[in-house]
């Protein structure tokens, strides 16, 4: 079976090679399928000109004539044809489910180029920070087990008790992200303490409105009613500042 396959492949190649000499087949590049089945199909059609559009082998002077004609005909065809058939390149493989690997094509990265680009970005951001050419900054702060996106003059309502008194100035230390119009600093997961400073004042310490917690099962004569009053704190964010140098 192996030898049969091999011989068939040779036939197919021979057919293809001969075909290249033909005028018509030069125009349409027969794609060389790596698939065995297709090669068999091509070979089984027989060596004598039963391939579509392939003109016979039995006329040796025909290619020469065609060459001459081609030299004249082709430029004419090129000027005329808005609908000329464009031949795909030889490396063309038609798109099937197995023609490409299922993962996306990745571009090759030059590490030197990449390092250069990174350094450029860092320089740009540090120049912006050094000159102070930023307007309003926002910060993502982790406080009281929640994350808040915060700017200057913001009010925050926190549903629990804080040990600071009213009017105390507080520094919120766990900063995840800081940004302005032209730059963002993303922490992994936190940004350094000497990089960002977010200050807030405690404005109000109250209790929430009485919320009713009720459970009721029908047909079981079960109901429980509880009134929950949460302590609340209101903070006003005074400033979000970034250090002038990226270390």
């Amino acid at each position: 079976m192996n030898t049969n396959r091999y011989s068939l492949r040779r036939n197919a190649l021979a057919v293809a090679l001969c075909c290249r000499g033909c005028f018509f087949c030069r125009g349409t590049d027969l794609p060389f399928f790596p698939n065995m089945a297709v090669v068999l199909k091509v070979a089984c059609r027989g060596p004598l000109g039963s391939l579509r559009g392939c003109w016979g082998f039995g006329r040796p002077q025909f290619p020469l004539l065609l060459e001459k004609q081609r030299a004249i005909a082709v430029p004419v065809v090129r000027h005329q044809g808005s609908q000329s058939i464009k031949s795909p390149p030889r490396s063309y493989v038609p798109e099937t489910s197995l023609s490409k690997p299922p993962w996306p094509e990745l571009s090759v990265i030059d590490p030197v180029e990449e390092a250069k680009q990174h350094q450029e970005v860092v320089l740009k951001v540090s120049s912006i920070l050094a000159e102070g050419k930023y307007g309003r900054l926002f910060a993502v702060v982790h406080f009281a087990s929640r994350q808040w996106k915060v700017t200057n003059e913001d009010l925050i309502l926190i549903e629990n008790h804080i040990d600071a008194e009213c009017g105390d100035r507080i520094r919120l230390e766990k900063v995840l992200m800081v940004g302005g119009e032209d730059f963002t600093l993303i922490g992994r997961p936190l940004l350094g303490r000497n990089l960002v400073r977010v200050e807030a004042t405690v404005i109000e310490k109250t209790e929430s409105w009485p919320q009713v917690y009720m459970r009721f099962w029908k047909r079981h004569r079960y109901q429980r009613k509880k009134i929950i009053v949460q302590p609340q704190t209101v903070l006003r964010i005074n400033t979000v500042e970034v250090a002038s140098r990226l270390s």
Binding site: R5, M36, W103, P104, L106, I109, F138, V140, Q147, W148, K149, L176, M177, G179, E181, T184, I186, G187, R188, P189, Q211, V212, Y213, M214, R215, F216, Q223, K225
Partner: protein, 149 residues
């Protein structure tokens, strides 16, 4: 002549019934129909309202999270990526920004959101490159499929 025993015969059933009834009716004043006036109907309606409020507070957390997720997904798709890929790659890079803030960033800080998307994309490509390696087969591997080229 003053009849004093008449006043002894007056009984007060319970001096605060009106106030107890008002405690329930005050929660029902904005209801529709007779349940905002009549105590018997109001009691049941108020009970159901309280139960729905407690359950709603628990469901609100779930609903809000779903909303954030769908908004973040919409934002990432605008930039040509998908939500699960964004989240998994952000976790791998060590960024611990939560969904609520991501949603806010997607709405109010589009450039920062785009930078996060780009970060996740880069991390993803890095991971794929690490997985693909050289592109060559490891040595000493053989298989039953005979390569004929």
């Amino acid at each position: 002549m003053v009849f004093l025993t008449l006043s002894h015969w007056i009984r007060s059933r319970g001096p605060d019934r009106w106030w107890r009834v008002q405690e329930v009716l005050k929660h029902a004043r904005h209801f529709r129909g007779r349940k905002n006036r009549c105590f018997r109907l109001a009691v049941r309606a108020v009970q159901r309202a309280f139960v729905y409020a407690t359950k709603g507070r628990q469901k609100k957390r779930r609903v809000m999270r779903k909303l954030w997720i769908s908004r973040i997904a919409a934002g990432t798709r605008e930039h040509g990526m998908k939500y699960p890929i964004l989240i998994s790659n952000l976790v791998k890079t060590g960024v611990q920004v939560n969904r609520r803030v991501l949603c806010d960033l997607a709405i109010t800080e589009p450039r920062s959101f785009q930078s996060l998307v780009a970060l996740a994309k880069a991390r993803r490509e890095e991971g794929l490159r690490a997985a693909l390696g050289d592109g060559k087969e490891p040595p000493g591997v053989f298989s039953r499929i005979v390569q004929s080229h």
